[in-house]
Symmetry: C2
Subunit: 292 residues, 2 copies
């Protein structure tokens, strides 16, 4: 007998969207992924999008996380300040329309440095809730903007956003290194040489010019330049952590980029544990259970 | 009585070109500046450009420095390896056409890290030759690619290129900070806060995201963001130098950007001396005197 969905969970990001039909016990019954991210939608397009998701996934109640709750999204859900727990996120959801709740992001507002996240918080707290990571842990979620996230007893207490992926994309497309970074980026000798250089780098703006100089002086092959530059950027990214020798990194998100971070963490003397998929839906289900 | 030019000196860069009619004693008689830089010229356009310069500036002999001698320029003048002196540059000039010599750049080829310059070498060695800086000194030449250049006894022994200006331009035009960095960049409280943050930054890709987070969390005014971000980048740039407490920096090139570096060097605890204009023509005149 077919099971019915209790609600729809949506991971609604800048570029992409994933939606899940979820049973009362948290089982994902159906899912879809498309490119109807926040940047592709006008604000008045959301009600029709919600109607289409309801028709397709067979439930009324919707819980959405990510950039949909930002000032560029549908309906701004103000940041919750760290330390942020699932309970705190649950009580701070914003009702964008009848039956549609948007989960807030998390902010570091008053500390030494400001930072913000939207979407990663639910993945981290979901991983902890599902038992896929300890309640006190260090997480890394590679992406266009890599996030290092620290939790203590199930609360997000600190985090750092690093624009590693964005800088690589900018350099590959524009400026003096454009046209030099079109090769394959994968683990191998050039990537690892880049990692070691990035780990030792005091300033990315200086170390990255070595890509151009290395090519001009035949110290770097054109086919190696992209992997080397990626290594420099990811090496400098992991090197901001002074705690990698003391505790493992829980890596979120699968795929090639996460694998490169795994290699980088090992090169820097750390260890990593890959968190299995499903943390985002686990986190949303915990919120749904708290609010239902 | 009008004096005659002995030769034409050309500082031929990527975007701009300056040309000078120079008397036998080194006096600049006339000069011009235009946007006929290397990127605007096809390789076969150079003979006509030289003919036009000769007609306009009234001399036959031409000495050109800068990107005109690069693989993207007219005629490649292979890099001289550091340590590089004026004598070494003079004997390594490339004759691009009858009466036209192109001065080579300088490379760090075999050391811990590769680096290259074209054009800055003549400015530094010209400043020393003219007595505007000591023969053993540290120089800084702010620009799209800032250069820190060390000399010992009149030879360029080491240097570092930092893509500070380019990163700022990329971030201002593309990516998540685009549209946030259009304000005025000048010295003031936001620039100095940025400097302090940049000096303490372990990773520009992390520190620069604080611009976005600071704006979202009202810790940074929109009108301050450009100056703050520039401060972060320039602060991180000067912070690569561990020798600023021991010796002054000789700043090359006037203008607003050089003034920002002067402020940054002071913020980092260093001192600077501004080298007066005329170093490039002084350096070219020294080469001309050696070769004439």
């Amino acid at each position: 007998m077919a099971r019915h969905a209790a609600y729809i969970a949506v991971d609604w990001g800048t570029t992409n969207r994933r939606a899940y039909a979820v049973a009362p016990d948290g089982t994902v019954l159906h899912s879809l992924r498309d490119d109807r991210g926040v940047l592709s939608l006008a604000r008045d397009a959301y009600p029709a999008e919600i109607a289409a998701l309801r028709a397709r996934l067979g439930a009324e109640s919707v819980i959405a996380v990510g950039m949909v709750g930002s000032s560029r999204g549908w309906c701004e859900a103000p940041y919750v300040d760290a330390p942020a727990t699932l309970d705190r996120l649950a009580e701070s959801c914003r009702e964008a329309a009848p039956g549609v709740r948007i989960v807030p992001g998390v902010a570091l507002r008053d500390g030494r440095r400001p930072d913000v996240m939207r979407g990663e918080e639910i993945q981290v707290l979901g991983a902890i809730h599902a038992g896929a990571a300890p309640a006190t842990a260090l997480f890394c979620q590679p992406g266009t903007h890599n996030k290092w996230i620290e939790t203590i007893d199930g609360a997000i207490t600190n985090f750092t956003t690093v624009m590693t992926g964005e800088l690589f994309a900018l350099l590959r497309t524009h400026g003096i290194l454009a046209g030099m970074l079109d090769g394959v980026v994968s683990d191998g000798a050039p990537f690892r040489r880049g990692l070691r250089r990035g780990i030792a780098s005091g300033n990315l703006a200086a170390t990255l010019f070595e890509v151009r100089a290395g090519l001009l002086l035949d110290r770097l092959e054109p086919s190696e330049a992209a992997a080397y530059a990626s290594g420099v950027l990811i090496g400098a990214d992991v090197a901001i952590r002074d705690d990698l020798s003391r505790r493992p990194v829980h890596l979120l998100g699968g795929g090639a980029l996460t694998e490169l971070y795994r290699v980088a963490i090992a090169e820097f003397g750390g260890t990593s544990v890959t968190v299995p998929d499903g943390s985002t839906t686990a986190g949303i289900h915990a919120l749904w259970s708290l609010n239902a």
